[in-house]
């Protein structure tokens, strides 16, 4: 019998990792560890996880880890995947584990290249919605209205770049969104991805207490609220069709969704948000759902 997920998550991230209290990164990586054991090679570009892994000669993850230059997670993972294929090694999962900056911004070209070549690995973008490692600067994945250290006074003026949709447009065999608050859902997605040959993309929502300015005890709560307010939609896209995932299913009905302001008000980064800006976010969320419904 397979042990429950929370048991299998143990000992995948070693004690002594360098994450901040309440950090979403170990939460996500524990699920990865639970699914693949140590038969996994993580390719990690410059990001918070570079630090979370701890200092040499220690290593915070019970599996193989390769730290690489910021723009290159998808390219290095491509090289590894091709070499393993050439050498006939089939029992090891290659995973690029990159932040939103390393994915949506500087890593976009290498990501797009690997996706278009349909390289055989899983790309996980853990999305804490800013450059946290360098001190909370805006990324193209930062949401509208959010304070960051490079949008310090009026907040970000642009909406979040939708990387999952960009990946769907690449025609890759598997794209999914996930959240660190729903480990079983994330696990199921990793398992499905692992069975598919070619390029798999998982966009993992990962609230960061330090950068989003909320109490480190609230990480899961904030992540759940993102789903419950409909701001973050969990789905899978494969074989030409979108499938809404369990946790998001109720919220296809707008009346079931919690008020967006409940999500925003827990986070200091939205402290100065105006009613007009909240309306703007609501419109964005509505459009996101319209798109989802259209592709189901």
């Amino acid at each position: 019998m397979v042990e429950p997920l929370h048991i299998r998550m143990r000992n995948t991230i070693m004690s002594g990792d360098a994450a901040c209290p309440g950090c979403p990164i170990p939460l996500g990586l524990k699920v990865v560890g639970a699914v693949f054991g140590n038969k996994v090679i993580l390719v990690i570009p410059a990001c918070c996880t570079s630090v979370v892994m701890g200092a040499w000669p220690g290593n915070g993850f019970n599996g193989s880890v390769i730290h690489v230059a910021f723009a290159s997670a998808a390219a290095v993972a491509s090289g590894i995947a091709e070499a393993l294929e050439k050498r006939g090694i089939r029992d090891t999962q290659v995973i690029a584990w990159a932040g939103d900056g390393g994915t949506a911004d500087i890593g976009m070209a290498s990501l797009s290249g690997a996706a278009e070549r349909n390289e055989n690995f899983i790309y996980i973008m853990y999305d804490n919605e800013a450059y946290m490692n360098t001190g909370i600067q805006r990324s193209s994945s930062t949401p509208y209205g959010a304070w960051t250290t490079t949008t310090p006074v009026i907040g970000k003026r642009e909406h979040k770049k939708d990387v999952a949709r960009i990946m769907i447009a690449h025609g890759v065999p598997y794209v999914a969104t996930a959240s660190i608050a729903y480990p079983h859902d994330f696990e199921a997605k990793l398992r499905r991805a692992a069975k598919i040959r070619g390029f798999k993309f998982i966009h993992l929502h990962a609230p960061c207490p330090v950068g989003w300015r909320f109490d480190p005890g609230l990480t899961i709560k904030v992540a759940k609220l993102a789903v419950e307010t409909g701001m973050w939609i969990l789905y899978e896209y494969y074989e030409g069709r979108l499938r809404l995932s369990g946790p998001s299913r109720p919220y296809i009905d707008e009346s079931k969704r919690k008020l967006i302001i409940e999500y925003l008000k827990l986070q200091g980064r939205f402290r100065r948000i105006t009613d007009k800006e909240v309306l703007e976010i609501e419109t964005y969320v509505k459009q996101a759902w319209d798109w989802v419904k259209k592709h189901m």
Binding site: N38, K39, V40, I41, V43, S50, V51, M53, G54, A55, W56, P57, G58, N59, F61, N62, G63, S64, V65, I66, H67, V68, A69, A71, S72, A74, A75, V76, A77, S78, G79, I80, A81, E82, A83, L84, E85, K86, R87, I89, D91, T92, Q93, A109, S110, S112, G113, E116, R117
Partner: protein, 391 residues
Amino acid sequence: MAIQVLTGNYSVALAAKLARVDVVAAYPITPQTSIVEKLSEYIEKGELDAKMIRVESEHSALAATFGAALAGARAFTATSSHGLLYMHEWVHWVSRARVPVVMAIVTRTIGTPWNIWPDHGDFMDQRDAGWIMSFGMDNQEILDLTLQAFKISEDPRVYLPVMVGLEGFILGHTSMPVDVPDQKLVDEWLGPRRQGYVIDGSEPLALGNLAWPEDTEEFFMDIQESMEEAKKVIKEVDKEYGRIFGREYGGLIEYYRCSDAKYIMVSMGAWSGDLKEAINLLRDNGYPVGLARIRYFRPFPDKEIYEVIRGAKGVIVFDRAISFGSMGPLFMDLVANTLKHTRRISVIQNIVAGIGGVNITYTDFTGLIKDFISIIESGGEPPVFKWYHRR
């Protein structure tokens, strides 16, 4: 062994094929492109059992080559000029990770302005990156250097990446007869892939975690030590290769008419052929001149250079690159490295020429050498630095 008429680029591609590379990741750029094209053709025709990763940029080309090499594949890439600069971050990453990789650099002038003719600016821009850096003079040597690069890179005393330089067009696109080694002999001599560690899932390993300053410095000190070791390995490989395949080049340096020379010329690359012609001509007219041709720029052959120039009345170092605001990089390295062995350096001159691909012929060399010698013979002091330009 069989003679084939090959361009420099095809010599590189054929060497990679003879080394039975497992993975190639590359991106086109003039004048390197025909290497990637040829390798693609070998692979698609089934003549080479390798994976070709047709990446979207040079930054990714070297990143993917690195990934493949790390995971146990014999991996190869090639680039030029802007492509090389674009991947510069990775040039450092690969050597600091101690991953054996081979890369050909088909040199080309850096823009702006756009210019596709060769000088050595792109190659020299990599000099601090921890790679073994070799440079050929003709297509035969290019093939031999590329093959040897795999052997040197994968030697446990070295475990550093190797780049092989050749000038675009002058060698890259010019055909010459090349003696191609027998595949079976190459297989026996080169053997299977060797590397310090492999990340392929067989055991959990981590590479590149944060390291404290002291640890980091020790890693880098080890690279410096391995560079010293590499000098031995390069010479050994050159000898061994000579024994098996019939061509030995002299190791880090090729000496041409140096034994009784009073004036020593130092150069690197294809124009050394023209320089040899100039030397023959000058010899016919009684000038005691010789050429020390740098085959390996990293590790720098400090001892060999010191020994060849120590009795000389004068030395000219020809540079096909310029460190703006200073001098030619070959010259700067030569002077600094000679100081390891002596405080007294002969009368020495740095001539920077051929920048932007300006063609330099044996007539230019003859004139420059004659000028230098006549100043010294008449008791004068030739200028230390000279940028020779002609139209």
